[in-house]
Every structure is written in C-alpha cells, then in structure tokens.
Symmetry: C2
Subunit: 487 residues, 2 copies
C-alpha cells in the first residue's frame, strides 16, 4: 500500500456488538492460509492439459467446451469519422454468473458474509471475496454438480430482501461480453456458519480495503452497488461520518449537471461511436507473437496470454491447467474529486472498450498503464499529471489492488482518489455527484469495473479512521471552490 500504509496487524475496535473484530479476522485469515491455498506455476501454453488450440481459428478452448476460451479479435472503433483499428487476444466468456454478498443484522448492525478465497492469479494468496461466486451452470443447476454454499439465498429471493441485483460488465479490454450478476441480499433468518466465511461490518471491510491486494475485484464490484447511506448510517455513531454520508445520499443535492443532461451525454457517446468487433485467428494477429510458451505483443506492452498449472487445497478439484491473461505492468486508475456548492463530485470519463455489451461505459478520470505511455506524447492520458503530482494531503486514497485472480495472473492496478479545487471542464469528461452515480449503478452497463472499484474505495472515506485524529477521512469543502483556474 502506498501513502497511508497501515500494518495488516493493526485493526481497530469499532465497539460494535455481534461481529468478529478485525483482530479475530486476522487470526482466522492466518489460520485459513494453511488449509485454503492455490499454487500456480507458469507452464507453456502448448503444454496445458485438456486445453487445445483450434487448428483453424487458433482459439484456445477446454476439451469440455466449458469455462472460457481465448480468441483473437479485429476491432474497429469509429467516432465522428475518426477510426482506430487493432487486433488483440481476448477472453471469451459470454455467460452470466452470480456474485452475491449476503447481509444480516446482528444486534442492529448490518454484517456482510465474506469468503476467504485464493485464486491462482492472486499475488498474495487469500483475498476477501463475496459470499458466492457462481457460474451460470452452478445457478441454473443444468449440470447438477456440487452445490455452491449459500447460493440459495440468491436464487430464492422471495423470503429475503433484495438490495441490489444488476448485471455488471467486467474488463472490456480483456473480456468479450463478460458480465456478472452483482447481488446483495439481506436475510433475517438464521444463517448456518461454514468454515472460510466471516461476517464483517462495512467498517471492517473498509479497513481491509485500505490494504494492498486484500479485497478481491468481485467483492469490490458488488460492494459498489451497496446504498452507502443506508448501511454506513446504520452502523456509524459519528455525526461527522453521517454528514459525509448525507452528502452522498440520494436526496437534496443538485449536481453541476442535471441527470437528464448527463444521460444525454451518455446517449450521444453511444450513438456517435461505433464498435465493430470481428473474430480473427489468434495465431496470426498482426503485431502479436504466438509462441509455444506465451502470446505477447511485439512492443512488450499490454498483456501476455500465459499457461498456468494450478495445485489447490480446500477446493473440490485438486488441480487443473488454464490459460490466463498477465498484464505487463501495474496500471493506474484514479478519480479526481472536487466540491462544488458543497457537494462532492467526481470527474467521470466515458470509454468504448471492445468487450462491452453496449458500446461505451462511464469510467474513471484516469485508467491507463503509465509505464506504457511517453510523457509529452499526444496520447499521454489527460489528468494523469494531476494525479501523479498531487500533494500528499490531497491524496484521499492510494492502494494497489488485484484484478480477478481466476483469469488474471498477478495483474494489479494502483487505485487513487485525488482531491482538486477546480471543477475544470474537459469535453470527454463530466463532473457527477456520487448520488448520480449511485442511481446509475443499479442499471446494467453504465459504470465500468475500474470505476466501480473506485466507488467502493471512495466509500471508505466515510468511515472513521483509526490512525490520525482528524476524524473522517473526507475532503473538506474547499473554501475557494468555484469555476476557473487550472487543475
């Protein structure tokens, strides 16, 4: 963790009854490391057991036809007569799985049932995962098979309260049409305990979100769909925290742009931009090298497709082989945040990625791999300098987090939230309030997975911190806020 490092062993006592404290959680985590583990060894793509390349298309598939495949695509994205075209490998996994978090109140405090799970791509072993990560065949039970623990809460919703249930995209640069159903369900019934699952408060989860590579991508995605004002208010006794949560809540705040105007901006981008994605042979993609070991770009940028042999403990299956995507460098993902008329706004971009189901989605202010860009080059990302040169006291969040360890190998992004004084305008971006984003997140295909992670991280700003004495880690309204001035 960069910036505001807190040692993993320094949890705080929220004084909340009913839930395990973070100290207990750490003990449980240490204990689990002995029984739940995944060891991944890199092996040549061509040596993967039960995977083979189609002789015609080069597509790498499992012999069962299940799981996912790696294929080649030929992408053309046109906007107002400007056209970009490239070829790339991509993971094809068009089916929709379930990512679910179960919620239950203990002594009036909502707790979230989180799983300790290791995935082969994780850089550090176990990470905090949702209650349920289920594939479509799991939840439709087409193939029968081992039941996924707690899945019934998400299938039989009539007896529970649905808080969120929305299909969300995942990395559109790396996944073709991948979406998962992000669900939060609250139950009042007794929930049987199971090894490897833990009830945590939102404050405990927020503490863990401050640690590098601790909360996994699926958990962050689901947590971003949580109505913060309901769950933080319910468990926080701190008036200052509640005032922050109020500032993010749905009512009583107008933004710099009204919602009709923002929706029009999105509609405009989605109609003016055309994304054309065609299949292309994976072993003959221009500018990509298909070796027996890996597939890589001739520039050594972007990512490699690699082979991995997995040995697993605490799982149904003792081991397997699979291809994975491995990013070449750590990425950088950031929101700029500012106060306008006392209301926090974030600077939202809009991105067309080849794997999206609906052309373009809202994204972070910055989403790039700095090591792959040249400063001063026209393609140096807008606002990257603002983020990189921000003084320490304007950096509200700075943590490096892992992307989904079932498909991505040691692939990480540094997530930053940086406060600025000026609500500077840029044609490709819009300042949006958090409650405007919170409304859109309940509908599919609006907010990309990187921006969803940032929203989950931003929620941590509403939590009273243990370190320091300034109370909630929240940007104070800038006294000189207003139009004008550069960022």
């Amino acid at each position: 963790m960069s910036g505001t490092t807190r040692a993993p062993g320094s949890p705080r006592d929220h004084g909340l009854p009913g839930g395990p404290r973070l100290a207990e959680f750490r003990t449980a985590l240490d204990a689990a490391r002995g029984s739940v583990f995944t060891r991944a060894e890199r092996i040549p793509l061509d040596a993967l057991d039960r995977w083979s390349a189609d002789p015609e298309s080069g597509t790498i598939r499992h012999v069962s036809g299940k799981f996912f495949s790696v294929q080649g695509i030929d992408v053309t994205i046109s906007t107002d007569g400007t056209t970009r075209r490239w070829h790339q490998p991509i993971i094809s996994q068009p089916e929709i799985g379930v990512l679910g978090i179960l919620v239950k109140e203990f002594d009036g405090v909502p707790h979230f049932l989180m799983q300790l799970k290791d995935e082969p791509g994780n850089i550090n072993g176990i990470q905090l995962s949702p209650t349920v990560q289920a594939t479509r065949s799991n939840y439709t039970r087409v193939h029968g098979g081992h039941a996924v623990p707690y899945l019934d809460y998400f299938l039989e919703r009539a007896r529970h309260r649905v808080i969120a249930d929305v299909r969300q995209s995942e990395q559109g640069d790396w996944f073709l049409l991948k979406r998962n159903r992000n669900m939060i369900v609250e139950t009042r019934g007794d929930v049987p305990p199971r090894e490897g699952f833990h009830w945590l408060t939102i404050h405990q989860i927020h503490d863990l979100l401050d640690l590098d590579d601790m909360v996994n991508m699926d958990a962050r995605s689901v947590l971003s769909c949580l109505p913060l004002w309901e769950f933080v208010r319910a468990s926080a006794g701190d008036e200052r925290v509640n005032s922050v949560v109020d500032a993010w809540s749905k009512t009583g705040h107008r933004g710099l742009h009204d919602t009709a105007e923002l929706l029009s901006w999105i509609t405009d981008a989605r109609t003016r931009t055309e994304v054309d994605v065609r299949n292309a042979p994976l072993d003959r993609l221009p500018h990509w090298r298909r070796g027996t070991e890996i597939i890589s770009h001739e520039s050594d940028r972007f990512f490699d497709v690699i082979g991995v042999r997995v040995e697993a403990g605490g799982r149904e299956v003792a081991g397997w082989d699979q291809p994975m995507v491995a990013a070449r460098h750590v990425g950088l993902v950031a929101f700029l945040v500012t106060y306008a008329d006392g209301v926090p706004h974030v600077l939202v971009g809009i991105r067309a990625e080849p794997g999206f189901a609906d052309v373009a989605e809202l994204g972070p202010t910055v989403q790039c791999v700095p090591a792959e860009h040249e400063r001063g080059h026209p393609e140096w990302p807008p606002f990257l300098d603002t983020v990189l040169s921000a003084p320490a006291d304007r950096v509200l969040y700075d943590t490096t987090l892992s992307e989904e360890g079932g498909r991505f190998f040691h692939t990480r992004n540094r997530y930053l939230i940086v406060e600025v004084d000026s609500d500077v305008d840029h044609p490709g971006f819009r300042w949006m309030t958090l409650h405007q984003l919170a409304e859109l997140i309940h509908h599919s295909h609006y907010i990309n997975v990187q921006a969803r992670t940032l929203l989950a991280c931003m929620a941590t700003l509403a939590t009273t911190r243990e370190t320091g004495s300034a109370g909630p880690r929240t940007p104070e309204p800038a006294t000189t806020a207003g139009q004008g001035g550069g960022v």
Copy 2:
C-alpha cells in the same frame, strides 16, 4: 376509433393563448392533404426497382446498400430448460436514428412542434409525427445531403434544455436490433416557422391521441418519455387533473413492489433467458413460402413481406420502391390498471423478442393478435379475456393506432387501458406504478414500443375531456381495492 368516438371536427378550446386551437389544426390538416401525400401501390417483391435478393442468403437489399434489408433468422429462446425455436423474416436496420420533438413555451404554456407527415404504409394518409425523424446519415452528415428541418436543435444541445434523450427499441418481433434515439429538447429561442409543422399543447395532442390512426408510432414513442407531471401541471388549471398527475409523479408514492425488487425481477428474466438469433436463408425458411409476389407463413398467420411502389408529393424524392412488412390481422395491446393504496398501478409483462438488444423488455399486460389464437387453447394469452369482457365503464382508453408507416403496411393495433379492482398476481407479470415506469423509461432497453404507446395514451387520462361532464377521465380509487379475488 372504438368506444369513445369523437368526430374529427369537434376540437375544444383550452383557452390557452399563443397556440393554434385544434380547429385551426384540423384546417391545416385538411389543407396539407392536398400537398403532402404518399400513394402506395402493392407490387411483386421480385419487381421492386433497385432492390434485389442475394443469391446465397435470399436477403433483400437496396442496390446502394443503404436504408434497410429483409433477411431470414433462426431463433432459439430458452428459459429454465424450456426451448422455443422458429424461423422468420425480419427487417434488419441496426443503425440508430433520431426521433425528436422540440418544445417551446408560448405565454407560459409548453407547446410541441409536430409535423404532418404521410408514410407509404399509413392507412389514412397524414399522421402527426415528431419534429424530426432523421437517419444516422442525416445526423452524422456523413453523406451530406438535404438538411433535415430543425435537426440542429437536437445536435447542438448546449444552448437548449434536454428533457429526454434515450435510445429505445422498436418492434423486436419485426426489427433486428432497431433502435431510435428518442429526444425531447426545449428551446427558448425563436423557432422559424415552416410549412407542415404545427405547435400543439399536450392537451391538443391528447385529443388527437383519442382518434384512430392520427398520432404516429414515432410521436407516441417520444411522448412516452415526457415527464408528465411537469408538462401537464404546467398547462392544466384543473385541480382534479393536477391530483391525477400528482398520483403519477415521482415522489411520495410507494408501489406494491419496491424498485430494487422490480429491477431484480428484470435482471432475473434477462439472465435466465437466452436468446440465440442466427442468420438463415430468407428463401428457404421452414414454414414460410417465398413467392415472387410476397413472403408469407404457411398458416396465414403473423405477417407478409410485400413489395410497394410509392409515389410521393411534398418530399425530396418523387417516388421509390421498397419492401414492407404487412401484418395479417389487427393486434391487441392492453394494460390492466388498478389502484393499490390509492396509487395507480399497471400490470407489466416481460417479453423476450428476437430483435431486442438486451434479451427482454417490459411490455403490456396483453400483446397479441386475437384472431391468431384459439380460445381455450393453452396459448390463449393471459388476461386477454379480462380485457375483451371488460364492461364499458372500466375501459379507460380504446383506440386503434398505426405502427410505423415507413416499414409497416396497414399494420395496426387496438390499444386498450382497462381498469380492474384486484391487484391479482401472476408469475410473469408485476404491478408497477407509473412513476416507477417513468424512471425506467429514461434508460435504454427497458420498455418496449407497445408499452410506450400505452404510456403515451395513459397520459391522456390526465387531460380534462371535452365530452361528458365527469371531469378528468381517470379511474377513481376503488373503494374495495385490496388483495384477493380474481380478475
């Protein structure tokens, strides 16, 4: 018009300054019939000038590659292991056009700029159309060409107020991936007058919606996106009308289901249902006859693909040939409406149609062609009997309206809104409040075009009627409303 017929020549005076009254409008309409006309003559498909069938696929295309094509598809829709499969012709027109209505206040009263337009498929000549119906090449100006009147208001939105801007689907049974951008833009500037365009109040438009085949499908679709409470309240002086509008407005009313629950129902349908659409040769579709004259189903149900030769007055082009879809029978589209806790709810279905961009959309309570169903058969549509046997005083709306006359030939549906006392449950349907639907209509792919027409028609219930003395044509809260009892 069935039921509450009002002669075309009996407009009422709303006492509104600034706008033409309906009498003036009728005079203008009569005058326009001389200069704006389209004569359509049926000719054999194989005789269409500048259209030809692809020798391999049978797809019927224009020689320029522009406009649209008619192709064959092979459809499989699966839900929870139940699979339906069929083949059919379908119109392919994947590009997104603009349907826009311009709004401007005259003496404090909002007026809508409507165009008098004849389309070759119209059964009765001129219908009321949006200010703008533009194709993508019109608005991106890729091909240059004749400017579309008033289009700039919808392209240069910065100087105006955007009220709605959302891509909406059209008939998913007849169109493959057809969507139009539905826009409502308000201007404060002077708007130059043009022949064939008229400013009408929402009340005048509502009067016209009571007439058979008078307001075209595109206009109804755009009008369904209008925030009713803002525009009816602004121009109605009647307290009773305002109370109806209040009942539909966004705030202060809980529905039988909360919105999170309804969104979950939609997400569930969209993940459990799989729609697989593949190209199939148009001239060899099972159960369809491809003749030289028309393409028709061997059962004489559904629709024909026919050829039409068009002679046009008041248009850029004096004439052209084109294929069209012609329904075999008049369809029936209906909402059931009931009061629950004093709040009006409509019974919403959910439909997977092969041409939809996102699996399934919300639809009417009944959407079918009664002549093609057999009473007593298991596929007799749910709630059709309720609609057909409703006593006259529970029928709040009953008008036969045309579908889009540029693609559909003499293709019409009878639209009904029927009040019932009981909020009966059915697993495939949900009772939703009008404000819940009004929130969803600002996002793409939620509400199908038939349900949008019904929402536009339902808005007429908030308008004081000229005939009768009961004030607003609104369902009164049923005194015995509540659970239980069959419909």
